[in-house]
Amino acid sequence: MSTIAIAQPRRLPGVPGVWVFVGADLMFFGLFFISFMYERSKDVALFERSRHALDIDFGGINTLILLTSSWFVVMALQAARRDRLQHAATLLAMAIGCGITFGVLKVIEYSGKLSAGISMLTNDFYMFYFILTGIHFGHVIGGTVVLMILFNKTRGGDYGSHNMVGLESGATYWHMVDLLWIFLFPLLYLVR
């Protein structure tokens, strides 16, 4: 007897609302990215000079941290779908650790800039740098709080193969935060 593969219907993970939010946020950031590149084209020398004061290592390591955290979240959801809730919770905790580490590195990076006398008022490049990374940082903080809530509820057994919507919604938001930084890092730190 032959087996017939049943195709899974196409679906968006999580509640639809989170995708509306992701879409709106991406529009907002997309406009910001484009306006940055446009302003940059009007004074490449200034932007290039200013870019050199940025520490690419901070940016690169933060990219790795967020990518890794997203990977942990993906694995957490896979574990939750198999009702391995303890394992899922542990993976979420590791993602939270990544979020906190990102925050610590961000604070160190900003402190370095400020104590060197560089702020968002210094020039247009730094205005973009502080505002873009600052708004993104706000999203990272919010996302980390969301992960903490997901962690608690996963440990409490609220999620599992019977109920993945909350986990999927929070995960989608967190991946968006990662995605934004994947664009932001080359935009600010690498483009020359």
Binding site: Q8, R10, R11, L12, P13, W19, G23, L26, M27, G30, F33, I34, M37, Y38, R40, S41, K42, V44, E48, I56, G60, T63, L64, L67, S70, W71, V73, V74, T172, H175, M176, D178, L179, I182, F183, P186, L187, Y189, L190, V191, R192
Partner: protein
């Protein structure tokens, strides 16, 4: 993912002209963003309309960003 991260880091060094490097860096970033969208965010298994919208976002933003680099050359 790691390969793209390493390659964009290398591209920021001086092996290529600034313009070439910029375009390549943006293109690689777009590729990475698309990977996150499709595999982490599971858009590969999503209904085609939302998937098309987000894929279009990547194309539009990267194209506009790259165009802005070239436009700047003409308005300078």
């Amino acid at each position: 993912m790691l390969a793209t991260w390493a390659s964009t880091w290398w591209l920021s060094k001086d092996a290529f002209s600034a313009r070439t490097a910029t375009v390549l860096i943006m293109a690689i970033a777009a590729f990475k963003v698309r990977l996150v969208l499709l595999h982490f965010m599971e858009l590969a298994h999503a209904p085609l309309l939302p998937r098309a919208i987000f894929e279009a976002w990547v194309v539009v933003v990267v194209t506009a960003a790259i165009l802005a680099v070239y436009l700047g050359v003409f308005t300078a």
